[in-house]
């Protein structure tokens, strides 16, 4: 394909889109499917047939629309009107939604009025605070396109950034653009992406690789799943731009094995991109060629760690190794390798579409752009959000999340999963950026954000994470292999009200040891939940000690 072909596809798409007056997007993401979106979609389709609306109303499947806790969601999209989202849809309601469109006939105004009237109880306006405070960059197209159709992605501007980069920029310029944007890796550590790209670019060597890290092992986070399921092409396009910039010919998408839908969609997207010539040889008629394969994980949290991930791609036990050498120097099969998180790749396309300056106009001084969070736990609104960096925790919890249900009090927010920490109420006004969170002993992490209310026991939460880490430890280095087991034992003792003060001290000391001496990020951060709860909620530990039974 040539760059001009993108326009042809777009024009065709627009033509066929114009055939329908109204589109009803049924959410087809994993969360909504689990709350009955499949039946909803069937009901919608049946109703359209019943009402003989096939020519007017189109039923489409979208990616995640965000507010998963209120799903299944259905979004109504009519040219020139504000879109409407129906929440908690069931098959009955689905038929009513279609019926509303039927009754209105060609009278568009009446239709929306009607819909607004009788279905009002289920309408979730886009002005709802859940949506209002968000700023969608990476997820701009999410819920708005059919994730399984490459044409739809192209019609929404897809692959234009790639065309622009390949035809107008040198690899160095591409690296530079990323550097200027200030984008930092979304996989957790926040390493400046542009610098990483440049490092791989600067390595000598004929064979180089690009890897997208879609392992997402943080239990309680699903940003990356959504990105891969719904924006597969955006990830692929981001990888293509990266490959061009660093000089790689082969890429791997490492997907968590528990995400079958993501695998299916990515496979489909790769096939489509290959068919269109967007993957393979001489892309857009240039010298640039790139092949992309999927590798499926098999359930090991540590495989999210980059060196373990590479071992896994090579078909080995997913055991981390010492760095340096970094993947940029010696990665897959000893060749220079760029590895970024899938959300990082999803940011590449808007970055090049709009330019580094515009990308950098959002966020804080050191943390540019937006971040996707998976809101979960004791909140009224749970789901996926994308917010500008620097937004406060309070805004996320109380405005977007709608506060704590059942009139309970906020106790803490846990970020970064098992590697992260707990932020107590006194720090609710902390801006969400890499440095501020680190200062609190928490981390941004990949974006899991779980809210705990007054009923949660912090030592119990710490024990939960420690059990997780001990179970997920690869076993290679002794502090993590044995240290996490000892720590878990101590936490068990504490939660079981068997512990003494000395045990709590020992826990603290052991935590510091494991943090300082472990080989990889898993062990180095495994004590974080313990250390941060000891820091902010020591009284809860003390209480358990003093309740100790004889």
């Amino acid at each position: 394909m040539q760059p001009a072909d993108l326009q042809t596809i777009t024009a065709n798409e627009e033509k066929s889109r114009a055939k329908h007056r109204c589109r009803l997007w049924a959410c087809g993401s994993t969360a909504c499917l689990s709350s009955g979106a499949g039946e909803v979609r069937t009901a919608l389709t049946a109703a359209v047939k019943e009402h003989k609306l096939a020519g007017e109303v189109q039923i489409a499947t979208s990616g995640c629309q965000g507010l998963c806790g209120n799903g299944p969601l259905v979004r109504r999209e009519v040219e020139g009107e504000a879109s409407i989202t129906y929440q908690d849809v069931d098959p009955t309601l689905a038929r009513q939604i279609v019926a509303a469109e039927a009754r209105s006939g060609p009278d568009l105004a009446a239709a929306s009025e009607l819909a607004a009237g009788s279905l009002a109880a289920h309408i979730l306006p886009e002005t709802h605070p859940f949506f209002a405070l968000q700023h969608k960059v990476a997820l701009a197209l999410n819920g708005r396109i059919d994730p399984e159709r490459i044409e739809d992605y192209i019609a929404h501007g897809g692959y234009a950034a790639l065309a622009k980069v390949l035809t107008t920029m040198t690899p160095e310029q591409a690296c530079d653009e990323v550097k200027r944007s200030g984008l930092r890796g979304r996989g957790g550590a926040g390493f400046p992406t542009g610098i990483k790209w440049r490092a791989v670019h600067d390595q000598a060597g004929e064979r180089k690789y690009v890897i997208a890290n879609g392992d997402e092992g943080d239990p309680g986070a699903y940003m990356d799943r959504t990105v891969m399921e719904d924006l597969a092409h955006q990830v692929i396009e981001g990888m293509l731009i990266a490959a061009y910039a660093v000089g790689a010919q082969q890429g791997y998408l490492y997907v968590r094995g528990e995400y079958p839908l993501a695998v299916k969609r990515l496979e489909k997207a790769i096939r489509a991109a290959n068919r269109q010539g967007l993957l393979g040889k001489n892309i857009f008629g240039t010298d640039f060629s790139f092949t992309l394969d999927i590798r499926i994980g098999a359930g090991a949290f540590v495989c999210g760690e980059e060196t373990a991930l590479m071992a896994s791609v090579e078909g080995n036990r997913g055991v981390p190794r010492m760095r340096p050498p970094y993947p940029a120097q010696s990665g897959l099969w000893g060749c220079p390798t760029l590895i970024n998180n899938v959300e990082t790749f999803a940011n590449i396309v808007p970055l090049f579409d709009k330019g580094a300056e515009q990308f950098a106009s959002v966020g804080t001084e050191k943390s540019k752009g937006t971040k996707i969070f998976a809101l979960a736990g004791k909140l009224k609104n749970t789901g996926l959000i994308e917010v500008p960096m620097g937004i406060t925790l309070r805004e996320i919890v109380f405005a977007i999340g709608g506060g704590i249900p059942n009139d309970k009090a906020f106790k803490a927010a846990q970020t970064g999963g098992p590697s992260g920490g707990c932020i107590p109420a006194e720090h609710l006004d902390t801006p969400m950026d890499y440095e501020s969170l680190r200062a609190l002993g928490a981390i941004m992490g990949s974006g899991g954000l779980i809210v705990l209310d007054e009923t949660s026991s912090m030592p119990d939460v710490a024990r939960f994470f420690m059990e997780f880490c001990a179970d997920e430890s690869c076993g290679k280095c002794v502090p993590c292999r044995v240290g996490t087991v000892q720590m878990h034992g101590l936490l068990d003792k504490i939660v079981g009200k068997q512990a003494t003060n000395a045990d709590v001290e020992k826990l603290q000391r052991l935590g510091e040891l494991v943090k300082r001496t472990s080989l990889c990020g898993l062990g180095q951060s495994a004590p974080n939940p313990v250390l941060s709860t000891l820091r902010y909620f020591r009284h809860e530990y003390d209480a358990l000690v003093s309740e100790r039974q004889a």
Binding site: A31, C68, G297, A298, G315, G318, A374
Partner: protein, 165 residues
């Protein structure tokens, strides 16, 4: 080596297809094991031997790899399966209680299979639908917002129906 019982098994075709897709390269070990497990439900010693032999990967390595990853199992699964998410979101919303209830009611430890081979109980680390926590999967159907008593009911109902293929 490759026992005839295994080589005559039609399910092996799926495994062979994956092996072929990757030109029998050793680095495809995980993909091939994944397919093998999908096709057979678990990794039997014969199957592991077969994979190692076809990919020219030392058997000890195949075994080391297979035992490293959670997803691989070495015993046949029960007729029915129930997976309970023990991810953070689900845990803070009480998934632990659901596990306890199921373990008590079906007299099986999570990770195990009931004596009669009817039910395998496993836990997962986040099913990626934390907004609807706690999540469970019964015989492939994903169920949102669970609580102990209803879940036990639900699973009991599932195990008294015929096995899903």
């Amino acid at each position: 080596m490759s026992t005839s019982a295994l080589t005559n098994d039609p399910r092996l075709k799926l495994v062979d297809r994956t092996i072929k897709k990757f030109d029998a390269r050793g680095d495809a070990l995980l993909e091939v094991l994944n397919t093998a497990q999908e096709a057979f439900g678990y990794l039997s010693p014969e199957l592991i031997r077969y994979v190692g032999h076809e990919l020219h990967v030392p058997l000890a390595r195949v075994y080391g790899v297979a035992t490293f990853y959670h997803l691989f199992t070495f015993k046949p699964k029960g007729e029915h399966t129930c997976i309970i998410c023990l991810g953070t979101a689900c845990y803070v919303k009480g998934a632990g209680d659901i596990v306890a209830a199921l373990e008590r009611d079906f007299e099986v430890k999570s990770g195990g299979t009931t004596q009669d081979g009817k039910l395998s109980l496993t836990t997962a680390r986040c099913l990626g639908s934390c907004g609807l926590a706690p999540m469970i999967v019964v015989d492939g159907t994903v169920l949102a917002r669970n609580e102990p008593a209803a879940t036990v009911e639900r699973v009991r109902a599932a195990t008294t129906t015929k096995a899903v293929s």
